[in-house]
Amino acid sequence: MAVVFERPKSLIDIPTHYCPGCTHGIVHRILCEVIDEMGIEGDTIGVCPVGCSVMAYDYFNCDMIEAAHGRAPAVATGVKRTNPDKFVFTYQGDGDLAAIGTAETVHVAARGENIVVIFINNTIYGMTGGQMAPTTLPGQVTQTTPFGRDPELAGYPVRVSEMVSTLSGCALAQRVAVDSVPHIREAKKAIRKAFENQKAGKGLSLVEVLSTCPTNWGLTPIEAIKRLQDEMIPYYPLGVYKDVDEGVFPKHSDSEGGEK
Amino acid sequence: MATTEILLAGFGGQGILFAGKILAYCGLTDGKELSWLPSYGPEMRGGTCNCSVCISDKPIGSPLVLTPDILIAMNQPSFDKFVKEVRPGGKVFYDSTLIEADCDRTDIELFGIPSQQLADDNALRGGSNIILLGKLIKETELFSVETMKKGIEKVVPPSKAALIPNNFKAIEIGMSN
């Protein structure tokens, strides 16, 4: 019988520590499908965050580095600058990327580092048990916003794709979701594009993935998907916020280059 | 030769560190042990500036000059502050254009020349510091003129090599005053 569906080779065949219904597994899978399809596992170095995906180094079969909280873009910069021929990606959650690591996020994009940033936005700190994230929606109840996030008290959410898209070194800023098959296909296409951008030396490519956290949201997996669709997507619209096809730096042979 | 401790002091922009560097390179040229230590920080933006240079046949201990054998002073506050600290038997070289030497010490030698005026008269803008170095080698046994010229050649950056003859001229003016 012909095999029509199998596990990506770059995704190690062991049980993960993720909760039932968590969408990390989907994102891991499509990321690994891209790595396999491009045949780059042997030349890829991934950088893990601190957060739920802290142990992703056990799941990806490429070489992996565990960074301090928020510092994955800096670590990735060190890797890429000294190994420009390798593929480098970070895999970061919302607390890691948009709170403690905001400076690293902004500057990795400002510098146009030729790497891929996969950003998992599930509006909550999962690993530590459900506290407010920088992306927690107004009114959302978390352990540290027990009466719902009040912007006057706790500030407004950060829209990362929009923010990063304003930086000249950003080649791709796209927000996708993994709530449905069409969206998952779209997400995979975005990740593929991000890696192709890196291959072509275009600059920083960020793919923001709207994800769920049934455990800390206190919802069933199906209810969680519905919340993503009904509450998150309206606040965080899907789409391409930046796509610089010619790359963020002028080509050396092209004297007319510069910022577009 | 025991250690010669030199202190150069003045305003930022007068070429204090530059003159100190020339002395340091003179030491290097003559195969001496030496150290050069600038005051650093806000001084570079126009405040007072000073520079310690030690020249010796032995390894240098503390590079910070507190009781100089030789003081080169280029403004009044520096003269007033440091002339008291000069070691007995020491020598003070100062710009008499800018400094009124009010000092009653008899155990040190004072050599004042109008180096700023001489620089202006000879179209050697900014050469006051080098004129004082010329005076220094005339009145001490520290370095020969040849060594001093080699020092200048090392310190003047290649992009300003055209200024080397001016510096040589400044040395000569210092030596003849």
Binding site: I65, A67, A74, A76, T82 | L37, Y40, G61, P63, K154
Partner: protein, 352 residues
């Protein structure tokens, strides 16, 4: 060998490049900025990477990333910036990565001042970050030693897979002295068993990591690391002993302060006082054997530092409190003078 005249900060940078440093990540801070400026000018010609990071924190984590791939990497700063780096240093140590960190110390705490200081001794030798770990800490006292110790630091960092620090100060960083660059044959260490530089489908994937959720696994990793530390304590200590054979009073000082103290020791000898100098070149590991050798005939020890006396306890422990250890220091950026130190020698020790 050709003698060059260089600032300490520049000599550090040039020596690092010659020692095979392939990347430098830094952030401006007085009084070490010349180092970064020199790297910016020189590194690309040497085929390496210079990058000004957005913060000290980012800089040290870039070092972590580069070091993870097996590349010789370095960062430098001065005291307040080194505090920011402490997070990354702890991760580098916990991930068993080699790296070189330079601290050209200035006065603290807080923003402190910009003049020379040695008040980061405790930070460097006891607690540059959380957790059970050490750095090898070198304390140069001349521009030449800036060169020699950087070369050594890169070598030992690779050899023991751990961070090494050059603990200098603003005086050494800013001063110029003649310096020669020895022929450096950077020993090549084979990093292929651990470096995360892409497996090329030829080996299992490598993981650079400091996270162990099982306590016994974490304990094992630390115990293994401390076995390496034991070897280092046995083999890597280094110190200068000056006029110690017959000394009644043994002065202890490191870095720039040791130069001041040496002048004072010479002055004391001229007065007939039997003073000697013990100068640790490694602060961790502390040269225990060497200080006991130096203190053989001493009745009193006197530690002189540009701090409030951070080395005193290490001296007391090293000699088992067998003799009194006195302290004289200036802090906040004030440099002690030979005359002040001589007064202390007269007061304490060999009064005639």
């Amino acid at each position: 060998m050709e003698r060059n005249l260089m600032k300490g900060n520049e000599a550090l940078a040039e020596a690092a490049i010659r020692a095979g440093c392939k990347c430098f990540f830094g952030y401006p801070i007085t009084p070490q900025t010349e180092l970064a400026a020199y790297m910016a000018k020189r590194m690309h010609k040497a085929g390496g990477v210079f990058l000004q990071a957005e913060s000290e924190i980012a800089a040290v984590n870039m070092v972590l990333g580069a070091a993870s791939t097996g590349v010789r990497a370095m960062t430098s700063s001065s005291s307040p910036g080194v505090s920011l780096k402490s997070e990354g240093v702890s991760y580098i140590a916990g991930s068993d990565l080699p790296a070189v960190i330079i601290n050209v110390q200035r006065g603290g705490p807080g923003l402190g001042g910009i003049q020379p200081s040695q008040a980061d001794y405790w930070q460097a030798t006891k607690a540059l970050g959380h957790g059970d770990f050490q750095l090898i800490v070198y304390a140069p006292a001349s521009v030449q030693e800036m060169v020699d110790f950087v070369v050594k630091a890169f070598d030992r960092a690779d050899k023991y897979r751990m961070p090494a620090m050059i603990l200098a100060d603003g005086l050494l960083g800013q001063m110029m002295e003649p310096v020669s660059f020895p022929e450096i044959n950077a020993d090549a260490y084979d990093k292929s068993s651990w470096a995360a530089d892409g497996h090329k489908f030829k080996r299992e994937h490598h993981i650079i990591n400091s996270l162990y959720l099982k306590p016994d696994e974490l304990e094992n990793s630390i115990v293994e690391r401390y076995k390496r530390y034991d070897i280092i304590k046995e083999t890597e200590t280094d110190a200068e002993l000056y006029l110690t054979e017959d000394c009644d009073i043994l002065l202890c000082a490191f870095g720039a302060t040791a130069r001041v103290v040496k002048s004072a020791v010479n002055d004391a000898r001229a007065l007939g006082i039997k003073a000697g100098l013990f100068r640790p070149k490694t602060l961790w590991p502390f040269p225990v054997k060497e200080i006991n050798e130096a203190a053989k005939t001493a009745k009193t020890l006197l530690s002189v530092e540009m701090s409030m006396g951070q080395m005193v306890d290490d001296i007391r422990l090293a000699i088992n409190c067998s003799r009194p250890v006195e302290f004289y220091g200036r802090t906040g950026g004030v440099i002690p003078t030979p005359a002040e130190v001589l007064e202390q020698i007269k007061r304490i020790g060999g009064t005639l």
